[in-house]
C-alpha cells in the first residue's frame, strides 16, 4: 500500500514543487544573466542582489486584475493557459533523475514512471503542447495573437519532424525506448552519445530552441512585430502560466538532452576507476548540474543571437535540419548493421 500509492504520490508532489520553484527562479536567472551579458546589474531591490524578485513578481501577477477581452471565446480563452501548462508538467513523469536514491534508509528510484515507450511519450506530450499556443491565438479574437498562434503551430510541427528523426537514431543506437534503458546503454557502451552522435545532438538542441519558442526562434512572441505574441491579450496569472510553461519546457528539453547525450545521472567517465571519488556525489546532482548547463546555454543564446526571419526559420527547418536528420539516421542504421 505504502509502496504502491503513498511513495509515488510523494514523489510527484516533491517533483512538482521542485519544478515550479526552479521555474520561478529561472526567470530571475534569465534576467540576471542577460543583465550581466549586457553589463547591467539586473534586478537588485528585492532581497540580496534581487534574489527574492521572483516572489515579488508572483505576488504581483496573482493580485493583478484578470481581464478577458469582450469578444473573446471565453471557454477556450480560459482553457488555453491550462492546456499550455499541463503537458509541460506531465512530461517530467518519465525524466530519470537517478536510478535509486537513499532517503534515511528507504531506497526509492527517482523516476516516477520508467515507461517502455518513454522517449515516444515525451515526443507525444510535446506535440500536445502546441494546442495551448494555437488556442490562445484563436480565442483572443485579435489579429496579433492569431498571427502568432499560426506561426507557432507551423514552427512546432516543422521542427518536431527533425527532432523525431534525431530521436530515432538514438533509439537505433541504444535499442530501447526507455529513458533509463538509454542511460544504461551509454554506460555499457562506455561513451556518452554526444561523442557518437554529434549531428543528432546539434539538431536536438536547435530543434529544442524552436520547440520552446526561445530566441533566436521566438517568432511567436516577436514583440517588435506582433506586440506581445500569442499572449498579448492575457493578463495576471493566466499570462504567468504561459511563461511558466515556456520555462518548464526548457527544463524538459534540457533534461532530455542530458539523458540522451550526456549520460543522465552518470558521473563523467563512469568507467574510469581513477575518477571513482566522483561517485561520492549522488547521481541526481549530476543530472541537475548537466541540465543546468543547458539552461544556461539557452539564456546565453538568447542574449547573443538576433532573431531569425520567418522564411529563414522555415528554410532552416525543412531544407537543412530534416534532410540532415534523415541522413544521420541512415548513416547510423548502416553503421549499426555493419558493426
Amino acid at each position: 500500500m505504502v509502496h504502491d500509492y503513498v511513495v509515488p504520490l510523494l514523489k510527484i508532489l516533491v517533483l512538482l514543487n521542485a519544478v515550479l520553484v526552479s521555474v520561478t527562479f529561472m526567470t530571475l536567472l534569465e534576467r540576471k544573466v542577460i543583465a550581466w551579458v549586457q553589463v547591467r546589474l539586473g534586478p537588485m531591490r528585492v532581497g540580496p542582489h534581487g534574489a527574492l524578485q521572483p516572489i515579488a513578481d508572483a505576488i504581483k501577477l496573482l493580485l493583478k486584475e484578470d481581464i478577458t477581452p469582450a469578444r473573446a471565446d471565453r471557454m477556450v480563452f480560459t482553457l488555453a493557459p491550462i492546456v499550455a501548462m499541463v503537458p509541460a508538467l506531465i512530461a517530467f513523469a518519465v525524466l530519470p533523475f537517478d536510478r535509486e536514491a537513499n532517503f534515511f534508509g528507504y531506497r526509492a528510484s527517482l523516476v516516477i514512471a520508467d515507461l517502455n515507450v518513454g522517449l515516444l511519450y515525451i515526443v507525444s506530450i510535446a506535440s500536445i503542447g502546441v494546442y495551448g499556443i494555437i488556442l490562445a491565438g484563436y480565442a483572443s479574437n485579435s489579429k496579433f495573437p492569431l498571427l502568432a498562434g499560426l506561426r507557432a503551430s507551423a514552427q512546432l510541427i516543422s521542427y518536431e519532424i527533425a527532432i523525431t528523426m534525431m530521436l530515432v537514431s538514438i533509439v537505433v543506437m541504444s535499442g530501447t525506448l526507455s529513458l533509463v534503458g538509454i542511460i544504461d546503454a551509454q554506460y555499457n557502451a562506455r561513451v556518452w552519445y554526444v561523442f557518437v552522435q554529434p549531428v543528432a545532438f546539434v539538431i536536438l538542441f536547435i530543434g529544442g530552441l524552436a520547440e520552446t519558442n526561445r530566441a533566436p526562434f521566438d517568432l511567436p512572441e516577436a514583440e517588435q512585430e506582433l506586440t506581445g505574441g500569442f499572449h498579448t491579450e492575457y493578463s495576471g496569472m493566466r499570462f504567468a502560466l504561459f511563461f511558466l510553461a515556456e520555462y518548464a519546457n526548457m527544463i524538459v528539453v534540457s533534461g532530455v538532452a542530458t539523458t540522451l547525450f550526456f549520460g543522465g545521472w552518470l558521473r563523467p567517465f563512469p568507467n574510469l576507476a581513477a575518477l571513482a571519488l566522483l561517485g561520492i556525489v549522488p547521481g541526481w546532482i549530476w543530472f541537475v548540474l548537466k541540465t543546468f548547463v543547458f539552461l544556461y546555454l539557452f539564456i546565453w543564446i538568447r542574449a547573443t543571437l538576433p532573431r531569425y526571419r520567418y522564411d529563414q526559420l522555415m528554410r532552416l527547418g525543412w531544407k537543412v535540419l530534416i534532410p540532415l536528420g534523415i541522413a544521420n539516421l541512415v548513416v547510423t542504421a548502416v553503421l549499426k548493421v555493419l558493426f
Binding site: 471565446d73 471557454m75 477556450v76 482553457l79 515507461l115 517502455n116 515507450v117 515516444l120 511519450y121 515526443v123 507525444s124 506530450i125 510535446a126 506535440s127 500536445i128 502546441v130 494546442y131 494555437i134 488556442l135 484563436y138 492569431l146 498562434g149 499560426l150 503551430s153 510541427i157 518536431e160 525506448l177
Partner: protein, 171 residues
Amino acid sequence: MLEPVVFYTLAALILGFGMLVVTARNTVHGVLFLVANFLCLAMVYVTLAAEFLAIIQVLVYAGGIVVLYLFVVMLVNLRRLPQGAPDRRRQTRLGIVVAATLLAEIAAILVYSSGQPAGAVAAAAAAGPARGNTEVVGMLLYTDYLVPFEVASMLLLVAMVGAILLARRDA
C-alpha cells in the same frame, strides 16, 4: 476492483466527448472535443496493454491530424460565414433512424455471440502472455506485414503530394 471504475469513467468520457463533437455549434469547440475524445481513447488503449498504440494515437492523431483540422478551421473561420443548414429536419430524423438501426444490429450480434461458449478464446489466452510493447508490434510490422507497411508509406507520400497540390493557391 479498479478496472470497472476506470473503464466506465473513460467510456462515459469518450461517448460524451463524441456526442459533443457531433453536436457542437462552434467548429473550433468541436475540434477540441475531438482531441479530448482521442486522449481518452489513448487511455483505454493503455488499459488494453497496447502502449505503443496509445502513444501513436496521441502523437499522430491528437498531435498531428487534429492540429491540421484546427488549422483549416481557423483559416476558414477567419471570414465569418453564415452556417446555412437547409433541409435539416428530414435529414436529421432519417440519419438518427439509420444510426439507431445500425446500433441495434451490432448490439444484437453482440448479445447473440456473447451467448456462445468462449472456449477458443480461453485456449488462446493460455498459449502465451500478451506483450503489448513496441518490440512485438515492430517485429510484426517489419516481417509479416512488410508489404502493407511499404504500401502505407507510398500512400502517405501520394497523400502528401496530393495535399500540397490541392492546397496550392494557383492550382
